[in-house]
Symmetry: C2
DNA sequence: AGTTATGGTCTCGTTTCGTTACCAATGATC
DNA sequence: GATCATTGGTAACGAAACGAGACCATAACT
């Protein structure tokens, strides 16, 4: 009743929506919602990106640092540790000098990439639309600001 | 060659991995990667959660505030504005007193929920595994700390 | 006059983040 | 044999983002 079928967009499975409804009824807090727990972790600035970079093959710290480009060593270390802690990434140290460390996805980490791939395809397909929307929004905002001045 | 087939886990589509490879070769910066652009935005603490809460039907500001529980009004406003700017959410004001404002998903916003649902199912299925991994990691870390003391 | 309700905004103290400097150990270079 | 480069980080500091709570405008109700 709340949503009319005016387009043939892909649908969100009813089962999932029921899931959401349930959470909403209970009030979703970080403490009581497993999905919150997971999303809060990999939903940070760098985690998904790093998982993607490790998709094909293991990489060394410095290779990751170069691949991502605008991540600092500090954040790279921090993110990798968190991914390792969550069991998505495995860290191997070869005690040479200078040290050599590589990072590889675990099975769990690889399994995460499957749904993430869906998200990436979506982002790629829709990002033009999003950028357009942003431009429009910003333009309207500028007009509104001029009016109230 | 880099990945042995020892388990029957769901696979990451080769096509997607090639996508990642390409990015990696170029060096993924925020500026040159559309997916980065999108991920940086909805990959924040609250966006996904709010999209989920709006899945079934439009909601008022206060309803969202209650549903999410531990979000502050400040962040709720900020996140909703960003979602609106990106064209994922529509804001409607009814000029009554006290004011009434509701937020609903746009078609674009609804389309985002499809891949997100995949991620949520994953999180739900795997979060036990993740928690276990965390506990193990923390225990090992504690041991290491004791040794070096 | 005082209370309540809504959808925010403002301010302030805390957390988190990004930048830069630095380190240890070894092999190569001069 | 002193110097330098390399790798995978850590430490310290200033900047930006965040969370909690006070505050506001308006009108209906008591």
């Amino acid at each position: 009743m709340t949503r009319e079928h005016t387009s043939n967009l892909p649908e969100v499975p009813e089962e999932i929506i029921q899931h959401f409804d349930q959470w909403q009824a209970e009030g979703v807090d970080a403490s009581n919602c497993p999905v919150r727990d997971v999303l809060d972790r990999i939903g940070d600035k760098w985690s998904v990106l790093i998982l993607m970079m490790l998709a094909r093959e293991p990489k060394r710290f410095s290779a990751l640092n170069k691949a991502v480009g605008d991540i600092s060593k500090r954040m790279l270390t921090q993110t990798l540790r968190a991914l390792q802690r969550d069991g998505l990434v495995e860290r191997t140290v070869y005690p040479t000098t200078p040290p050599r460390v590589d990072y590889r996805l675990t099975d769990l980490g690889r399994s995460a990439l499957v749904p993430l791939a869906g998200l990436i395809v979506w982002a790629d397909k829709r990002h033009e639309e999003i950028r357009t929307s942003r431009d429009t929004f910003d333009k309207e905002e500028a007009v509104a600001a001029r009016l109230s001045a």
